[in-house]
């Protein structure tokens, strides 16, 4: 545990050269591994190039080439890293905005050393939550279903190698699951799916082809023709995408005419002839929800000022983006497929609050701006994040995209400080597997951050934004409380999970990196898929034992 924070890989983004230098110095003093970047665009490039090369990003809010909040969204969506925002401005509204966009902390300049020392907690917390998600997931599902319920099982069966090894580790971690057999040789560890520009474009093309109103994970998956991608991956990505669109929508509307967003728009469902909108969430909440997306504490919930917003209701499932497609229809988002580890009561997860989102048109112009339309991921859930990690090292996802990636680093776009230790987390799979899209290797990242599980409790419960002089104290609510009203089983599992203390050292050890990306936001149209999808989950997530050397052969 002592060694954990050391070597934390931090990317600092700030156009203020003096601060960049100061932060670099301070972070190094904390024994962190620092990379600095004075341009947001470069930072993104860097993050994309070095997939899994960073643990946390610290970024200024006010940068000339890109709004810090945008960067925040991109990072959260594409890389799912915790992001800390910085600013000299501590105005509550700005801070709130940061939170809404998913910042896991908001620091005021001048920043003190002690604030930086603590940033590792965000990384740690996130990982713990990811693990918990998966554990919770397992609690929910029965093994039989898991084993047989998925049509993806065949794929998984082809996994070779160290699953058993991983399975054992996984087993260690979950004392509570004694009755469950994790030693399945077919179990594979879920690696993180990284939605590259290329992949996302396939996704968007598929969505457009199907028609935004008719879209569903399975259909998209089929169209995308990316063999190693799972329906769950697509589903969660779809959710993010919707959220993103709805946010963009809102921003555009706000910009266009302040106050243009009216209640009537919300019920534009009628005008659009689409089914009633249920589960609309106040956009603020949507943002709030997506606010902490992926950043810290997947389970954290923003305590919104809105009285209608109840923590319990929000837990886990977040609003499902009610974004209108080009075809001008609104999606109905029913209750989240609870199977997918939803810890929420079915319908109630969605609080039928009015949304500020104007279901309007799908603003394609916004899309052009980002070749990669990220959708802030709702952190409520993070249920199972099942991700496959594509090793960028050698494949090469061609960087296709409307936005050219400037690879040249002119001047000190960023300065790389050589790490003093090797990447602590991964056991990467170095084999390239020709899949037809290129040679990809699927590194399975194994990181077990279970160290001192209990020790994490205090961190979790005291998560706050370290905002000086700000009344916003506990914005983030520990996920434990979030689950308080979940199913009894789940609760039990989670609690047990909390007590699951496996003192596996973080560094230089294989650990399990559970990332399940499961955001359900399924429309009624494909509710069936959803359900199957749910079943798939448990199976997938529970068998995650790390594939150390395993190959994901499709």
């Amino acid at each position: 545990m002592d060694s954990f924070p050391a070597g934390l890989r931090v990317l600092v983004v700030d156009d203020d050269l003096a601060w960049l230098r100061i932060l670099e110095k301070m972070l190094k003093k904390c024994s962190y591994e620092v990379t600095t970047c004075c341009l947001a665009r470069e930072a993104l490039d860097l993050l994309r190039e070095r997939k899994d090369g960073f643990d946390i990003v610290i970024s200024d809010v006010n940068m000339p080439d890109m709004d810090g909040f945008k960067l925040l969204e991109h990072v959260g969506l594409e890389m799912d890293l915790p992001v800390i925002m910085m600013s000299v401005d501590g105005e509550t509204s700005r801070v709130m905005r940061g939170v809404q966009h998913g910042a896991c902390d908001y620091l005021l300049k001048p920043i003190r050393m002690k604030e930086l020392r603590n940033i590792w907690q965000h990384v740690f917390r996130k990982r713990i939550h990811e693990v918990r998600d998966i554990e919770g997931q397992e609690c929910m599902e029965e093994i039989q279903i898991m084993r047989h319920g998925s049509d993806l099982s065949d794929e998984w069966h082809s996994f070779s190698g160290g699953e058993l090894n991983s399975a054992k580790k996984r087993k260690d971690l979950e004392n509570k699951h004694d009755d469950k057999d994790y030693g399945d040789p077919t179990s594979v560890k879920k690696a993180r799916v990284v939605w590259t520009v290329d992949l996302h474009q396939k996704f968007v093309r598929a969505v457009n082809q199907i028609g935004f109103d008719k879209v569903g994970p399975k259909k998209i998956l089929d169209l995308m023709n990316v063999p190693w991608l799972t329906r769950e991956n697509v589903a969660s990505h779809l959710q993010k995408y919707r959220l993103y669109l709805s946010r963009i929508q809102k921003e555009n509307d706000l910009k266009a005419s302040f106050g243009a967003i009216k209640q009537s728009d919300l019920s534009s469902k009628d005008t659009d002839g689409s089914p009633g909108l249920q589960n609309s969430l106040d956009i603020q909440k949507t943002d709030a929800a997506s606010g902490i997306y992926g950043m810290c504490g997947n389970k954290t919930i923003i305590q919104n000022a809105d009285p209608k917003f109840h923590e319990g209701e929000l837990k886990g499932i977040v609003s499902m983006p009610l974004v209108e497609s080009k075809k001008a229809t609104i999606h109905d988002i029913p209750e989240p497929p609870k199977a997918s580890n939803s810890r929420t009561a079915p319908n109630h997860a969605f609080v039928p609050l009015e949304t500020d989102v104007k279901y309007g048109r799908f603003d394609s112009s916004v899309r052009k701006q980002y070749s990669w339309c990220e959708v802030p991921q709702t952190q409520f859930k993070q249920e199972h994040k099942v991700n496959l990690q594509i090793e960028k090292g050698f494949n090469h996802l061609p960087s296709v995209g409307s936005r050219p990636f400037t690879r040249e680093r002119e001047k000190p776009g960023y300065m790389d400080i050589k790490p003093s230790y090797t990447k602590r987390s991964t056991q990467q799979i170095r084999q390239a597997i020709p899949i037809g899209i290129g040679a990809y290797s699927f590194p399975v990242e194994s990181e077990n951050h279970m160290t001192g599980f209990q020790a994490s409790e205090p961190i979790l419960s005291t998560t706050t934004l370290s905002m000086k002089n700000h009344g916003l104290s506990q914005i983030f609510i520990n996920n434990n409380s979030a689950f308080a009203s979940a199913d009894g089983d789940l609760l039990a599992c989670l609690l047990q999970g909390d007590r699951c203390t496996s003192n596996i050292e973080l560094q230089n050890k294989e650990s399990l990196n559970y990332h399940s990306q499961d955001f359900f936001t399924e429309t009624p149209a494909y509710v069936n898929e959803t359900q199957r999808f749910d079943y798939d989950y448990p199976w997938e997530t529970m068998e995650y034992p790390v594939i150390d050397q395993g190959l994901f052969i499709v």
């Binding site: 050269l17 000299v88 001048p110």
Partner: protein, 141 residues
Amino acid sequence: MDRNLQRQVANMRKSLFDQGYLDEQFIQLEDLRDDANPNFVEEIVTLFYTDSAKLIRNIENALENNPSDFERLDDYMQQFKGRSSSIGAKKVKTECSQFREYCKAGNAEGCIRTFQQLKQELATLRRKLETYFEMARQANT
């Protein structure tokens, strides 16, 4: 002689704080000095002045050409304030805040006036710091 110089340096340093030119951030910078970067403070101060020069020009241009674009002016000033906070330029920061107040109030004249003061404070601080650093260098040789 050295001792005398050292005392002078210490006094000057103290007065910079007492007179409100610098705040505690400056001390943070001093704490970051180490063997690898013994002149860290000067390094940062230099970076500050060179990096913010462009921003100052931008503000100047904006005040001249678009004096009523308060949002942009405020934006620039926020950036500049961030920069000033890096070295603990207290008086400068105060001017920044004042400027932003005028922006919020839509007071172009106030902005212009404050900006002049800000530039003066910047220049004064620079002179003092240069003197201080020079003295400190001499005292340590």
